[in-house]
């Protein structure tokens, strides 16, 4: 329980900062609204105000700004409560089959995330096994794996989509592949380290039993790598979600959290963008939490915690 107090303090601080930042961010619109409603503002014309900073508008029109920034239709920075209300309305109050439901869009993204995560994890583990057991792979795979991660995903995602589209793959699979592209890397790095974690003495011990290579893998290397694998999976699943969202951006997709963000930005619906962002963040937190839970249960059953 005592851990909650500092967490709440930090959250409250961030929310406070957020509300505070709304003043300069939304000041122009607030002053414009007030002017249209007939109030006296300074400076008087929009043209004069255009190049002014938000803060100077706030100081010169504190009265109207401090009232007008909180509930705008298309604020530059929506208020936390606006985002919260939007989140509530688009999750709980909409049918999940509705095109406006974030649960619907969230599931589209999540399914691509999970498929991509599964592909990435399997790929990562297989590559790691190859690297540990095959000298040629040891020397050749890692540089490529590292190179693959230095390419901005935003640059390569459209190409993957286009290439796969030309062979008839659309929808979930291309997104899952982009997602796997991001998530395999931490798994490779973690698993290589994990599979190599048994010390020489433990390997010697297996030699004295005349154990076969596969026995060494299943009985020593694989179980020894579990703590490393789970650390990687936590990074990998968050990366998968990012990959799935990025995969929705360049396609003009109409479904998914990425599509919501894109649509929001086309129509200046900042509240929609922010609520999609938060939905993605909540999904990521839940996914990482689930992996963490599986980690705790598994390692506890293995006696490793």
């Amino acid at each position: 329980m005592r851990a909650f107090v500092p967490i709440l303090v930090v959250v409250a601080g961030l929310i406070g900062l957020w509300y505070f930042a709304m003043l300069p961010m939304n000041a122009h619109q607030a002053v414009l609204d007030a002017e249209r409603a007939g109030a006296v503002v300074s400076p008087e014309t929009a043209a004069e105000r255009r190049d002014m900073s938000g803060w100077s508008l706030v100081t010169r029109n504190f009265g109207v700004v401090s009232q007008g920034v909180w509930a705008q239709d298309r604020p530059r920075l929506p208020a936390p409560h606006q985002v919260a209300i939007e989140l509530w309305e688009t999750t709980v109050e909409k049918k999940i089959t509705s095109k406006r439901s974030l649960v619907f869009h969230g599931w589209i993204t999540l399914s691509a995330t999970l498929v991509g995560f599964a592909i990435g994890t399997v790929m990562g583990v297989l590559l790691a096994v190859g690297i540990v057991y095959n000298r040629a792979m040891d020397l050749s795979v890692m540089p490529w794996a590292i190179a693959s991660q230095t390419i901005p995903i935003l640059a390569i995602a459209p190409m993957i989509i286009v290439v796969l589209n030309s062979v008839g793959l659309q929808g979930l699979i291309p997104k899952a592949i982009i997602s796997a592209y991001l998530s395999f890397f931490p798994v490779v790095v973690g698993m290589v380290k994990g599979l190599r974690s048994p010390d020489p003495m433990q390997l010697d011990l297996l030699r004295t039993y005349a154990a076969s290579g596969s026995q060494g893998f299943w009985k020593l290397r694989l179980p020894a790598s579990m703590p490393y694998l789970f650390a990687s999976l936590k990074i990998g699943i968050a990366a998968s979600l990012v990959g799935a969202i990025v995969g929705e951006l360049p396609t003009g997709a109409v479904r998914g959290l990425g599509a919501r963000m894109l649509a929001g930005s086309y129509y200046g619906q900042t509240v929609q963008i922010w609520s999609a962002l938060f939905a993605a963040a909540i999904c990521a937190a839940v996914l990482v939490g689930i992996v963490g839970l599986i980690q705790r249960v598994t390692l506890k059953r293995m006696g490793l915690t």
């Binding site: 003495m201 011990l205 030699r207 004295t208 039993y209 005349a210 009985k219 179980p223 579990m226 006696g303």
Partner: protein
């Protein structure tokens, strides 16, 4: 090759390990290191042989050669009449390392089951053997515990049980009690002797401790470094029955003295 028969009258026992003119040279960046040079040694069935000497004298290396964990560069070495590697594949020996090396994700019983699983013993057989070796090392009732729940001494006992679980006639122990405190060590020494008596295994035992070597062994091999070689082989005159108090007897002190002399002689040549 048939097991060789020792020619000492009244002591006609099989030779289990026979080394002659054994050399092992490691190539390092600083030039060759002679870990073993011209080592001649016979170990007979049922012997308790201790290897003692300062660091770098090759005592562990010799044990590792017997276990086929190192490959000699010269001379010959047979284990049960086979090459060490054949003996390893025939699972001729159990090896106990300085650290217990128990798998933290396996319970004590499952750790002991590890070699049995690898060697393909049936589940029922595994269970019987685990029970048997746990009682042999005085760890009844600890089978379900994880290694971290046991003290260092108990962990080392479990690792000895693991080496005993399959039917190897040879037990190779590389400073198994080196990391334990003196009190625990005394107790484990006493238990090891009882265990040796009950099982009749041939034991090769590497140690840094003169009293430990004298107390445990029927044969003490004194070694010295650079190059690693044998300077003295002492056949113990102590009776097989050895209470801890025997360490205060004149006979014990005399053997210990000879070991110390052997160690010193090795050093003078430096």
């Amino acid at each position: 090759m048939a097991p060789l028969i020792d020619e000492v009258p009244g002591q006609a026992r099989d030779v289990v390990v026979r080394a002659s003119k054994l050399d092992l040279t490691f190539q390092t960046n600083d030039g060759p290191v002679h870990a073993l040079k011209g080592v001649d040694l016979d170990i007979h069935a049922g012997d308790f042989v201790s290897f003692i000497g300062p660091s770098g004298c090759g005592k562990t290396t010799f044990l590792r050669c017997v276990a086929a964990l190192e490959t000699p560069t010269g001379g010959s070495l047979t284990v049960n009449g086979m090459t060490p590697d054949e003996a390893r594949r025939a699972r001729a020996y159990g090896y106990v390392f300085q650290a217990a090396g128990l798998y933290p994700w396996r319970t004590i019983a499952r750790n002991i089951a590890l070699p049995l699983e690898i060697m393909g013993y049936s589940k029922a057989d595994q269970k019987d053997r685990i029970e048997r070796v746990l009682s042999l090392v005085d760890l009844e009732g600890f089978g379900g515990k994880f290694p971290w729940q046991l003290s260092g001494g108990m962990q080392q006992r479990a690792s000895i049980a693991r080496a005993l679980a399959f039917d190897a006639d040879i037990l190779l122990m590389d400073e198994p009690f080196g990391a334990l405190d003196e009190i625990v060590r005394d107790r484990l020494n006493e238990e090891l002797l009882k265990l040796w008596d009950r099982t009749g295994k041939t034991i090769g035992f590497v140690t840094h401790s003169i009293p430990e070597a004298v107390y445990l062994s029927t044969k003490i091999v004194v070694m010295s470094p650079r190059p690693g070689r044998i300077t003295d082989v002492i056949d113990s005159t102590l009776p097989k029955e050895r209470p801890l108090e025997i360490r205060d007897s004149p006979e014990f002190i005399e053997i210990a003295h000879r070991v110390r002399e052997g160690l010193r002689a090795g050093h003078v040549e430096d």
